[in-house]
């Protein structure tokens, strides 16, 4: 059996089902959404085919600008905090035995796969007045009476870091586990302490990986939808919440679609940047 270009119809046969499924249920819905973003909204939740850009025009409102600015700032904070914790952690993790690594990977995957609902509920419990950590502080005598730590910005941020941290670690894991350990050993023989070697050698070597991970975590955090609702107040709602709100509760599909298209453009631009960083890494490797 040679690996060769497909020639007959039969050669293309395996592609038929995946291609149809992906085109019908991803490309078409995606295009539908783009089309709807230009439609005219009717009262009562309907919309009619048209070509108007009013939906995009609403981006210029102060309210929308505020939500967008908050979403981006929140995602940036989450990305920076996650990479800041995950990078040294993952580096240390790759230095442990294979057994320890596997146990950690299983735990990280379990947390990563957790529903946003469950994460939101778990943190709302942990930060609550009746069952939260403040009870422990009271028991330890550090606080006079338990209090609720939510809703609030701190709660939203903590929840989102919790959600994104396993993702960040698993993004960094391949690059760090494949890292040439002789680099650091060479630095050690030249007189660098482990910490100095880590900062002077490992971090610069993986600069592009770090940038790529920051961007991917940023996009991941942009997608967070339930945590701002469960742990925050309405002023902490993100673009994802707003899109759902417009689509489901305000029945304004065209505006929701326009915001979604805008979010796609931001995400695609950033993923493109990631690929570029990745490409440069390959080129210089």
């Amino acid at each position: 059996m040679r690996r060769e270009p497909p020639r007959t119809i039969a050669d293309y046969a395996p592609l038929a089902f995946p291609a149809i499924m992906l085109i019908v249920f991803f490309v078409v819905p995606f295009s539908t959404m783009i089309a709807v973003s230009f439609f005219r909204r009717q009262q009562g939740g309907f919309y009619t085919p048209d070509f108007v850009i009013d939906n995009y025009g609403r981006f210029l409102s102060a309210f929308f600008g505020g939500v967008l600015g908050f979403s981006l700032a929140l995602a940036i904070m989450v990305a920076v905090i996650c990479v800041g914790i995950a990078f040294p952690f993952t580096y240390l993790l790759t230095k442990t035995s294979r057994r320890v690594q596997i146990v950690w990977l299983v735990c990280l995957l379990s947390v990563l796969s957790l529903s946003e609902v469950i994460i939101g509920f778990a943190w709302s419990t942990l930060l609550s007045r009746t069952a939260g950590i403040t009870n422990l502080l009271v028991a330890a005598g550090l606080m006079s009476e338990p209090q609720a730590l939510l809703p609030g910005f701190g709660a939203v941020l903590t929840g989102m870091v919790y959600q994104a941290l396993p993702y960040t670690i698993l993004m960094l894991y391949p690059a760090l586990v494949r890292l040439d350990t002789t680099l650091l050993e060479a630095a050690r023989t030249l007189g660098a302490s482990p910490l100095r070697g880590f900062i002077n050698i490992i971090v610069p070597t993986l600069r592009n990986t770090i940038i790529a991970t920051l961007i991917m975590v940023f996009v991941f955090a942009l997608g967070s939808y339930l945590l701002p609702q469960i742990l925050g107040r309405p002023q902490h709602w993100t673009l994802s919440v707003l899109i759902t709100d417009q689509a489901i509760y305000q029945s304004n599909m065209p505006f929701a679609a326009a915001m979604a298209v805008f979010l796609v453009l931001i995400s695609l631009a950033l993923v493109g940047l990631t690929l570029l960083a990745g490409g440069r890494r390959e080129a210089t490797a």
């Binding site: 469950i118 778990a122 419990t125 586990v177 996009v219």
Partner: protein, 267 residues
């Protein structure tokens, strides 16, 4: 040594951060009374029983498991022929389909959810429960796509050539050599898709949220009307399912390799 000590501390802090909320949830899930208190008062496993005895929770559980089982199977059925084709044929343009398969996973989920919502509404099937199966299959096709791509790339092509010299045609090669070799990757792709589908909220909510309750939807709906301890027991139940599935993958597959490390004998 001070290094080892610092490392222990670092690991302990991260472990505590990741486990903390789950410990509290596990704690409140065994409260005897229907109250949200921690440390728990009394001990009761009744709230775990509720998942199966309360008709609402049971229906949501069954719906979620059915949805996860079917959509993960469909995702594998979409990914397998695609990856096989890409591996078997020289057709660089077909990589566009791989990209399409990965896209829903990289973009914010609300986008895929909204796209599918407009689509199902436009074609008139909005709210039908089977639409959630297709929606989840498309949303999670990335996972079997990635694990299977990894599996195929690990097959030494001379194995296939050897089978051909011994008289095996394409079909036989696929059945007797390729499928046995990629089976672990296929199973892990299915398992990843299954667990994530089980936990997925927004796509399910946007496509069938008004006609069907999956467990995450049920938890969120219940959360709006206040607290019931069953939420806690269901959450713990889900964490356990995920941990068991991933532990099984680790036991029978090569988890570090699946997550991007080199072959196991090198690490």
């Amino acid at each position: 040594m001070i290094d080892a000590f610092m490392r222990r501390i670092g690991f302990a802090v991260v472990a505590l951060f990741l486990a903390g909320p789950l410990i509290v949830v596990a704690g409140v899930s065994i409260n005897e009374k229907q109250s949200l208190t921690f440390p728990p008062e009394g001990f009761s496993m009744a709230w775990y029983g509720q998942i199966f005895t309360d008709s609402g929770w049971r229906a949501a559980l069954v719906a979620s498991i059915l949805l996860a089982a079917l959509s993960a199977a469909l995702a594998v059925l979409i990914a397998l022929p695609l990856v096989w084709f890409l591996w078997r044929r020289i057709a660089p343009w077909a990589n566009a389909f791989r990209l399409l398969g990965v896209a829903p996973f990289i973009l914010p989920p609300v986008i895929t959810a909204l796209g599918l919502l407009t689509f199902w509404a436009t074609v008139g099937f909005y709210g039908q429960s089977w639409t959630a199966v297709i929606s989840h299959a498309i949303f999670f096709v990335t996972l079997p796509l990635v694990t299977l791509s990894l599996g195929f790339s690990s097959i030494d092509r001379s194995l296939v050539e050897a089978a051909a010299t011994m008289g095996a045609d394409d079909r036989l090669v696929l059945r007797t050599v390729v499928l046995p070799l990629i089976l672990p990757y296929l199973v892990s792709g299915y398992a990843f898709a299954f667990v994530l589908s089980l936990n997925e909220y927004i796509v399910a909510y946007m496509t069938v949220g008004f006609t069907m309750e999956t467990l995450p939807i049920k938890i969120f709906n219940a959360l709006r009307y206040g607290y019931t301890p069953t939420m806690a027991s269901v959450s713990v139940f889900f964490v356990v399912i995920a941990a068991v599935v991933f532990a099984l993958i680790a036991r029978f597959g090569d988890l570090p390799r699946l997550l991007g490390a080199m072959a196991s004998d090198q690490s």
